[in-house]
């Protein structure tokens, strides 16, 4: 794939994927958003303001850290970690919320809504809303409210209203449904900050563009550190925003292999997982066509993952396209394996990763030893594990 990559088309299609599949009431706000996105992402003033926020508020650039001890231990590739965990609020999610909040401000919207799974996107949204003095409502599945209570408290501290969603499977997809219902009801004053590369066009492209800072920095940092491009990239895939953020600037560099890691939950064979690219089928949900976990009747199946942020039955349409074209490879990691990744990084490098990111670490445990010592592997460390302390302590039988 040496030819120029310029997906999506003007209606948001990545080949057969993506597009705009929404109820009529959402067409006008989506058109309005698309116009603003097209205009401001080329506007020097907007870009300057975004760059300044990323530098002084988020703390970018995030380091590309050479995990030397872990690399030695695994005996293969030189592992570099892209430290998105060091961003303000603890994950890559803030790259996107800072950008969308600037758009909301320019569009004159006074109210912000968001969906959240692990709570990282909710926190990152509540954070930018607090900073701009905007009203903020975050929808979160009731199951996730229980397993990520620390983040619920953070959002409330920041002034957001957290709504526990009791419908369906009470996880991320249901939070997204509820946020769409809110948006349809309050279209005039409300900006919906979607937290991943899902939703109707322009969200998948726009969120990617805001997250692509990860890959742009990583490329430059890798060249500085090693004098050449990396050999492989690894990132976990929930909706796919941290992965596409890392991958996108490398898509035309065909020597760079890309691995997206989905959550296999109890194992793909058990059916209790969140791995639509590995074990799903194309369909339409939440405004776009992509790989989904659905049954023969097209009803969405409940997902399972130890990590709330990967517990989603769909995936960004661009990943569906990258899978079909073979440009990226999608693999999966079980809950048990993810825990091995979690402990490996914690013990070998003194870095506690988020459970989502632990899936990427776990895949590196398999991949790095198969690579040469002179090869470079970049893993996206999408977030820190602070939010998962309760879950981990509980698993270990410890009461906090």
């Amino acid at each position: 794939m040496t030819e120029k990559y310029n997906m999506p088309d003007e209606r948001g299609h990545f080949g057969p994927y993506g597009g705009i599949f929404v109820a009529e009431t959402l067409i006008p706000p989506i058109q309005e958003l698309n116009a603003a996105y097209q205009k401001y992402l080329k506007d020097p003033e907007f870009i300057a303001e975004l760059d300044a926020d990323l530098k002084y508020y988020v703390g970018r650039p995030s380091p590309l850290y050479h995990a030397e001890r872990w690399s030695r231990e695994l005996g293969g590739a030189q592992i570099y970690l892209k430290r998105e965990d060091l961003n303000h609020t603890g994950s890559h999610k803030i790259n996107n919320t800072v950008g969308q909040a600037l758009l909301a401000k320019r569009m004159g919207k006074t109210r912000i809504i968001a969906e959240t799974g692990a709570g990282q996107h909710g926190v990152a949204t509540a954070t930018v809303a607090a900073r701009l003095g905007l009203e903020c409502v975050v929808y979160m599945g009731a199951v996730d409210v229980a397993r990520q209570s620390l983040n619920v408290y953070r959002m409330k501290l920041l002034g957001a209203k957290v709504v526990a969603v009791e419908s369906g499977s009470k996880t991320l997809k249901d939070a997204l449904n509820e946020a769409l219902r809110d948006w349809v009801t309050n279209v005039d004053n409300t900006f919906y900050i979607i937290g991943t590369v899902a939703g109707p066009h322009p969200y998948p492209a726009m969120v990617r563009d805001f997250q692509a800072i990860i890959g742009r920095e990583a490329k430059q940092q890798c060249l500085e550190a090693t004098g050449r491009l990396p050999d492989a990239l690894v990132a976990c895939v929930g909706g796919g925003s941290n992965a596409i953020g890392l991958f996108y600037p490398f898509i035309e560099d065909e020597s760079v292999k890309m691995y997206g890691v989905e959550a296999a939950g109890d194992g793909v064979a058990t059916g209790r997982h969140s791995a639509p690219l590995c074990a799903g089928r194309p369909g339409v949900l939440h405004g776009n066509r992509t790989y989904l976990m659905a049954d023969d009747d097209g009803e969405i199946i409940e997902t399972h993952s130890i990590s709330a942020g990967l517990d989603y039955p769909g995936v960004g349409p661009e990943h569906a396209w990258l899978k079909d074209t073979g440009r990226a490879t999608y693999v999966n990691i079980t809950d048990t394996e993810a825990l091995e990744g979690f402990y490996a990084l914690t013990h070998m490098e003194g870095i506690i990763p988020a459970l989502e990111s632990s899936h990427a670490m776990a895949y590196a445990l398999k991949l790095a030893p198969t690579m040469g010592k002179d090869e470079t592997l970049i893993i996206n460390l999408s977030g820190r594990g602070d939010k998962d302390m309760q879950t981990m302590a509980k698993r270990e039988g410890i009461e906090l």
Binding site: A23, E24, I27, S167, R181, V184, V187, V284, L285, E299
Partner: protein, 276 residues
Amino acid sequence: MSRLAAKFEELAQSGRKALIPFITAGDPSPGFTVPMMHAMVKAGVDVIELGVPFSDPMADGPVIQRASERALAHKMSLRRTLEIAAEFRKTDQTTPVVLMGYLNPIEAMTYEGFANAAQRADIDGVLTVDLPPEEGQECSALLKARGIDPIFLLAPNSSVDRVKKMDAVGSGYLYYVSLKGVTGAGHLDVADVENKLQQIRANTQLPVAIGFGVKDAETANTIAHLGDGVVIGSALISKIETNLDNPEQAKNEIVELLTSIRQALDCGLGTEGVQE
């Protein structure tokens, strides 16, 4: 002429407004739906919208969400909804039936597979909430080729261009969503609906049915006379929900409500405009 076109023409000639109930197929149980459809016809409805249960009904409020959940608990699906429609058709060859649902169950059957199955079930119209015309060309063409009307939504914030587009791609009728919100939502503003309908009327010859937020005979009557008909859904499904232990009672209450709306609509016969 399609059953829907014929029905609206007949209504227009007699100066009457269409009464269009919406119920979810298989709610509260699969056996409930066909007898309920026949009872609604007896109560004087003109067209039946049959909701296809979906796991993620993004445009629906809590009442219809729960109806979907109840139906899905009985393993209801698009295929079984088509079976229900076909069963109804065996003893009623005149009442148009419109399927209303979301795209993914149709994707799972493939567009062509669905269009063929809908034709076999003698379905008259299909309204797919999350399939706007830009993405819906292929599906609409397959339906039209089989004499099935693709029905599209218009919203309070739809532009004139959008109305023209729906006029070009839709057939049967246009469904005007009377408020910004989900099904069963709060209060609709009659003056707003009236203004918007003027703009819509100026740009289409298609009949316009108005839905969302219609709760009782009074609102139904007011709203129906702004267009060509009125859709009532959540208010009916609420009757099912409050009588889960007694479906016969639910059926009676639905018939009672529809009968009162039918009377109100026919008494308001010839009412020009609405004074609020």
